[in-house]
């Protein structure tokens, strides 16, 4: 038995529009209520501005727009997930706006399936895999990859 088959990881599940996504809890730091965001003129459209988080200035992005999903209205459940992204060399913290945070699920590695190869509006290379939870399909996001070469840097 190899380690891979027995590994169980925790995932933070959240909602973007009508779809369900998850991120490895190890790359999530904190969940904040949506507070006032300071706009940064001439920033890329998915970048909503900056916030003060414990004395540090963090950029905040709209995850819907980053993944090129339809823009959703700000509701009472809208929150910011503070995530730590980046490679081995250096990590930065970033706030991601999601429509609703659902739960933390413990999922064994072997019950995460490969992402579908066709269909859907999502940029597929940002999706690490899919798992089923209470009859719902949840897509696991590769957080590092999303911010590695998004329009954030290149605009």
């Amino acid at each position: 038995m190899t380690d891979n088959t027995s590994n169980i990881n925790s995932y933070l599940c959240f909602k973007l529009g009508n779809e369900f996504f998850a991120a490895d809890v190890r790359s999530t730091l904190k969940i904040l209520q949506l507070s006032e965001i300071t706009k940064v003129p001439h920033a890329p459209t998915n970048m909503k501005g900056v916030i003060n988080h414990h004395g540090n200035v963090l950029p905040v992005v709209d995850l819907n727009q980053t993944l090129e999903l339809p823009i959703s209205e700000v509701g009472s459940n809208t929150c910011i997930i503070i995530m730590s992204v980046g490679g081995e060399k250096e990590t930065i913290s970033i706030g991601a706006i999601v429509d609703e945070v659902l739960s933390v699920e413990e999922i064994a590695d072997d019950s995460i399936k490969d992402p579908p190869t066709m269909g859907g509006n999502h940029k597929l290379d940002y999706i690490k895999g899919v798992f089923e939870n209470n009859d719902l399909f949840v897509m696991v996001l590769d957080i590092d990859k999303i911010f590695e070469n998004t329009s954030l840097q290149n605009n």
Binding site: K39, V40, P41, A43, N52, L58, I92, N154
Partner: protein, 698 residues
């Protein structure tokens, strides 16, 4: 122990720096004995501390060099340019040892290098065979002439063993300096049940008969002197032990506690009378044995040692500098930053409160925090001089290997800059200098042909200019050929073929990524990292790079840097209901203008008090969903050598802004140099006026 290694590493770095500096001086003036002594002292310190921290190979290596310079110092061998050159090269070996002391490869290279040195010093010996043979004779006599008797009392701190120092090694080292009679004092040794094995309970009393100066003896204890009790006393200027039997007598009395120290001192004074005769005899020996030319040599040596011991040992050492780790300074700055932010909150509460007392208190705090900030920043300032040594070395090595003649001049090196800026500045400047030598300065014959002096000049100049520092690197080389650059930029698709560029625009092409004009890839520059990296590094420091060149007569690159990195005085303004901070240093005047005036302005130029200003309407430029047209303030700011106006909606107050770095994700928004947290916890972007204006005018 980690910490101690770091300490050693830092210390060694300082020593190596000053070693390089001294060697450069020596290269210019071989007869400078002060500098020779300094080099010797540095080698000695490196050896001593190296051994203490387990860098045995480093210690061994520097020991050989120390021996070499000892010979130079005592004039046993003459100092040649060759030796100085070798020593300069030795620095690379020392650095290698510092990184990896027990690397076989490095050890072997070091050994080979030492052989080279030995060879060179013996070669020099041979050329003066006669003199040398005389000197060896003299060696036996000369020390006797200068031998002094020291009484050293050394009581280490009981915790000395915890620092990884073995006092016995120090005593060993001391014995190397001459004939030592060492007595261990056990008085403090507790009963066995009270004994703490980690503590050192001993004191030592040593009578040392040595030719070395007091400074050399002090140097043995250099790393423990701070927390140990150390007394060095010259009990006799004469070599009392040269008198028959005296040494044995004293030894017996001293070691077996038959006489107190006072008694022994008296005894030695008594014997001094006998020495004088012996010395006179010795002098005669010199005259008869030594040839004529050796005599002045000895006298010279004598003359040198006396003033040195007089000058270098002030009666009471005054300490007016304290060494503080930069980590501590960094955390001080962090605390100051937090203090300033907290003060902003206090100010916020006070101003919404009617209490006069609270407001007065808040104002006092503001004043204090400003002074506090300035003092803390000042502590981190170090002179540009500290990095110049590196450049000198680079110019020297590189011009040699490229067969060019280059002299390096540094001006205004006393100009001070934040330590963090200096440390990130040295690489870009190195790169610029490398470029200058490689591409700029021509080969000697080419220079002669074009009517220039054979030796090229690279001049580094640092100066203050308002709230900025200007550092320029100027060479009198071939200059930059605009045509070649334009051609290359077209080749690389960086510009359109039809594009007509101004001179400045052409030079700015050099700062674009992936632009290298060298025709061939050399070892030195042109490895794909070019001026764009320099620009990026300077950008990170919120600075600017400016290139100016005259084909055929040289290139000047100027770096403009802000004085500090983390806290600035700013002006808090409002644009479309968001708050922004403008650095106060670039703000000149504030006027009130009406909407009509702005709307009627032709080509974005407005006339105020008879002067026409071009302006940028930030309420337009920063507009998204809504645009606030209410109140308009016209702020004039410096933009290079022009004055430009910025239009905002609101003016709030002066504001001390703690600059928080904005993440890499926001880097492309160059017009903001950072963000700052306001008293109410919200964030305001800090505008870099120069970059903002450049952004909107291009």
């Amino acid at each position: 122990m980690e910490d101690f290694h770091k300490l050693f590493y830092e210390e060694a770095g300082d020593l190596i720096n000053s070693l390089e500096e001294n060697l450069m001086l020596l290269e210019e003036d071989l007869s400078n004995t002060e500098v020779v002594n300094e080099v010797f002292r540095i080698m000695h310190s490196l050896k001593g501390s190296g051994a203490m921290f387990g860098y045995d190979n480093l210690s061994h290596f520097t020991h050989e060099l120390e021996t070499l310079y000892d010979k130079v110092r005592s004039k046993t061998i003459p100092l040649t340019t060759h030796i100085v050159n070798l020593t300069i090269n030795s620095i690379d070996h020392i650095n290698a040892f510092l990184k990896e002391d027990d690397n076989e490869d490095i050890i072997n290279k070091g050994k080979a290098f030492l052989q080279q040195i030995e060879l060179s010093s013996s070669k020099d010996d041979k050329t003066e065979v006669n003199e040398k043979s005389n000197l060896t004779d003299n060696d036996k006599i000369k020390p006797q002439l200068n031998k002094k008797l020291y009484l050293i009392q050394f009581e280490p701190n009981p915790d000395i063993l915890n620092d990884g120092t073995n006092p016995l090694y120090l005593l060993d080292e001391l014995s190397d300096l001459g004939d030592a009679i060492i007595k261990t004092n056990y008085k403090n040794l507790p009963q066995i049940e009270d004994l703490d094995v980690d503590k050192c309970y001993f004191k030592w009393e040593i009578i040392l008969s040595s030719t070395e100066s007091r400074t050399t003896i002090e140097d043995v204890f250099i790393f423990v002197a701070d927390d140990s009790h150390l007394e060095i006393e010259i009990i006799s200027e004469k070599d009392v032990f040269s008198v028959a039997d005296v040494e044995d007598k004293i030894k017996d009395l001293f070691l077996n506690n038959k006489q107190s120290i006072k008694g022994i001192k008296k005894l030695i004074k008594l014997y001094e009378a006998d020495v004088v005769e012996a010395e006179e005899i010795n002098d005669e020996v010199v005259v008869s044995v030594g040839k004529e030319d050796t005599l002045p040599l000895i006298q010279e040596a004598k003359q040198e040692t006396t003033p040195r011991s007089n000058v270098k040992i002030p009666e009471a050492i005054k300490i007016d500098t304290v060494k503080v780790s930069s980590k501590k300074l960094d955390s001080l700055i962090n605390l100051v930053s937090e203090f300033v932010t907290t003060q902003a909150r206090l100010h916020n509460i006070a101003s919404s409160n009617k209490s006069v007392e609270l407001n007065a208190l808040s104002e006092d705090f503001q004043l204090l925090s400003r002074q506090f900030r300035d003092v803390a920043f000042e502590m981190r300032l170090i002179p540009v001089h500290t990095m110049v040594v590196k450049f000198k070395r680079l110019v020297r090595d590189l011009s040699k290997s490229l067969g060019k003649k280059v002299q390096f001049i540094a001006e205004g090196t006393e100009t001070e800059l934040d330590k963090n800026i200096i440390s990130s500045l040295s690489d870009p400047i190195m790169h610029i200098i490398r470029n200058s030598i490689d591409h700029g300065i021509e080969s000697p014959d080419k220079r002669l042909n074009s009517g220039k002096a054979e030796t090229g000049t690279i001049k580094l100049k640092a100066e203050y200019s308002g709230a900025y520092i200007l550092i320029s690197i100027e060479d009198d080389g071939a200059g930059i050929d605009q045509e070649i650059i334009t051609k290359k930029a077209i080749e690389k698709n960086l510009i359109e073929e039809s594009a007509k560029l101004s001179k400045d625009e052409v030079y700015n092409l050099l700062l674009l990524p992936g632009f290298s004009t060298s025709k061939k890839v050399t070892d030195v520059s042109g490895r794909g990292v070019g001026m764009d990296v320099v620009k990026r590094n300077i950008d990170d420091l919120r600075g600017e790079v400016n290139i100016n060149s005259e084909k055929g007569s040289g290139t000047k690159i100027t770096i403009k840097l802000p004085l500090t990195l983390s806290i600035i005085d700013g002006l808090l303004v409002g644009v479309n209901n968001s708050k922004y901070i403008l650095p106060l240093t670039s703000v000149l005047k504030i006027y009130k203008v009406s909407n009509a005036e702005i709307e009627n302005a032709y080509k974005n130029i407005i006339d105020i008090e008879g002067i026409q200003y071009p302006f940028i309407n930030l309420t337009d430029k920063f507009a998204d969903a809504h645009k606030d047209k209410s109140v308009n303030h016209f702020i004039t700011v410096n933009y290079h050598d022009k004055i430009v106006g910025l239009i905002v909606n609101e003016l709030y107050s002066e504001y001390q802004a703690v600059l928080k770095p904005i993440d890499k994700l926001l880097k492309h928004t160059e017009m903001f140099s950072g963000a700052s947290i306001l008293g109410d916890g919200k964030v305001a972007m800090v505008i870099d006026t120069n970059k903002l204006i450049t952004h909107f005018t291009n």
